[in-house]
Amino acid sequence: MASKRSVIPFGPQHPVLPEPIHIDLITEDEKVVEAVPSIGFVHRGLEHLVTKKDFGEMVYVAERICGICSFGHGYGYVNAVEHIMGIEPTQRAKYIRTLLFELSRMHSHILWLGLMADAFGFESLFMETWKHRERVLDMLEWATGGRVIFSIMRLGGLRKDVPDEILKSFLPELDKIEEGIRACEKAFLSDPAVLSRLKGVGYLSKEDAISLGCEGPFLRASGVARDNRMRGYAAYKDVDFDIITSDDGDSYGRCYVRIQEIYQSASIIRQCIEKIPDEGIYVPIKGFPNGEYMTVIEQPRGGACYYVHASGKKFIERMRVRTPTFANIPALAKTLQGCDVADVPILVVTIDPCISCTER
């Protein structure tokens, strides 16, 4: 006898979700047969503000697209406008941008680990990871003055220099964070109770990951070596790092990739502190941007596209942001097919959804 299908609405308000996304789960008994995601609960019209804010002031709006990857959004917009205007920031500005970008990545990934621990019900692990994230936030506060929104980005460079003494003080902090994450890593990657919730859950093959257009750690966990940092923007061409991939393709693989990327970010920050040159941080800009440019940068959640079209006026005509969560939603729907209802919160968290970015 065929079992009866029923629809379970998941979200937009759910204990595991930090932000509102709604998924209709079509289930047969305890198995999900199909998942239909829908978004559109937190649209704020930020892209349209580009026509009402001066192109310099727009940096503050771009930073506020998202709270977690705020630095990346500010960087993406500034990078596009700088290319249109033909401005080359100084090397020191590029190094500090790279360093802050990697600190953002660290805090985003550690935050994700905490959310993941919360999703599979390991509360003390959740609190332990967020304890280490606090250190990263403290470092960001030392460097920029802000914990979430840094307001340090500016067209032509940076608004504020980060003194060498502060940069040097990051080195022992990084050691402590790495030590703490290594302790948590054992729980995430070798604890039998945790493994039973992660191994084989939400498998996505390499072919599916490519054809569904996934981005970021979600894509790399399926064995595809694609990282936009390899394009060499900011100071990434001057530092050594490899693309971290996993062949598992399941939730365990996604966890592994993100943990390894935390160590990788720490390594990039150390290289930046070692190589940073002593020079100015700001190149004056003249005139208004005229032209269009599209850039792709690697946010903590994956590749984000920024398109800017300006026509030589004070206000830019069009700005468009394509965020990694938007690219990962089709793959999420695919991984949800055939999973248990109890695994749905874990799978939603594995794409690291950022709905504020996606809807802007």
């Binding site: 804010k53 002031e57 503050y60 506020r64 003390s124 692990l125 332990e128 304890k131 606090e134 403290d138 506060e141 030392w142 460097a143 920029t144 003055g145 802000g146 929104i149 307001s151 608004r159 302790a183 948590c184 054992k186 729980a187 070798s190 604890d191 039998p192 109770a193």
Partner: protein, 170 residues
């Protein structure tokens, strides 16, 4: 014995100080660089309105007639742009966060009496200079000097003086 991996960390945590601060039982601690809220020194502010023009959220209002400087803390995004652009270095950033509130209040700051007197004195001097310049112009007109070259010279002098006067008043 992989299942005891995290137990070690948990046991260690039992004998450590709490990682969090007991706020509001104790005072909150801030970094030296923290961007908390904007403070205006009303002894040095000249109400030039540069902060009002530069503020991306239009949180600052300068009223020259009433000689007040107003900030809406709920609109301020602590971006520090006004502080960076203040010509008199009157604005600064304090590290404590903005106080909580239940209504969208505005904080109004009036110029200090000393600064009011200083600005009034500046305005009086500027008015005197402008009046003197006008007087000189009238005198020359009355004398009926019609020589083109001389007229040009006096015009230049007047405009220079007027420019100087307007600088002082702003």
């Amino acid at each position: 014995m992989s299942f005891v991996n995290f137990t070690k960390t948990e046991l260690k945590n039992l004998f450590k100080k709490p990682a969090t601060e007991k706020y509001p039982e104790g005072p909150a601690t801030y970094k030296e660089t923290t961007r908390g809220h904007i403070v205006n020194n009303m002894d040095t502010c000249v109400l030039c309105s540069v902060c009002q023009m530069r503020c991306p959220t239009r949180a600052i209002t300068v009223d020259r007639k009433a000689q007040t400087w107003t900030i809406r803390p709920f609109s301020c995004i602590q971006c520090r742009r006004c502080v960076d652009n203040c010509p008199k270095k009157s604005l600064s950033m304090a590290k404590e966060y903005t106080e909580p509130d239940v209504t969208r209040t505005e904080k109004v700051f009036a110029l200090s009496d000393r600064q009011k007197a200083a600005l009034a004195e500046q305005a009086r001097r500027a008015a005197e200079r402008a009046a003197a310049a006008m007087e000189a112009k009238k005198k020359e007109m009355a004398e009926g000097k019609k020589d083109e070259t001389k007229k040009d010279e006096t015009k230049k002098d007047e405009t220079k003086k007027e420019d100087g006067a307007s600088d002082q008043t702003s």
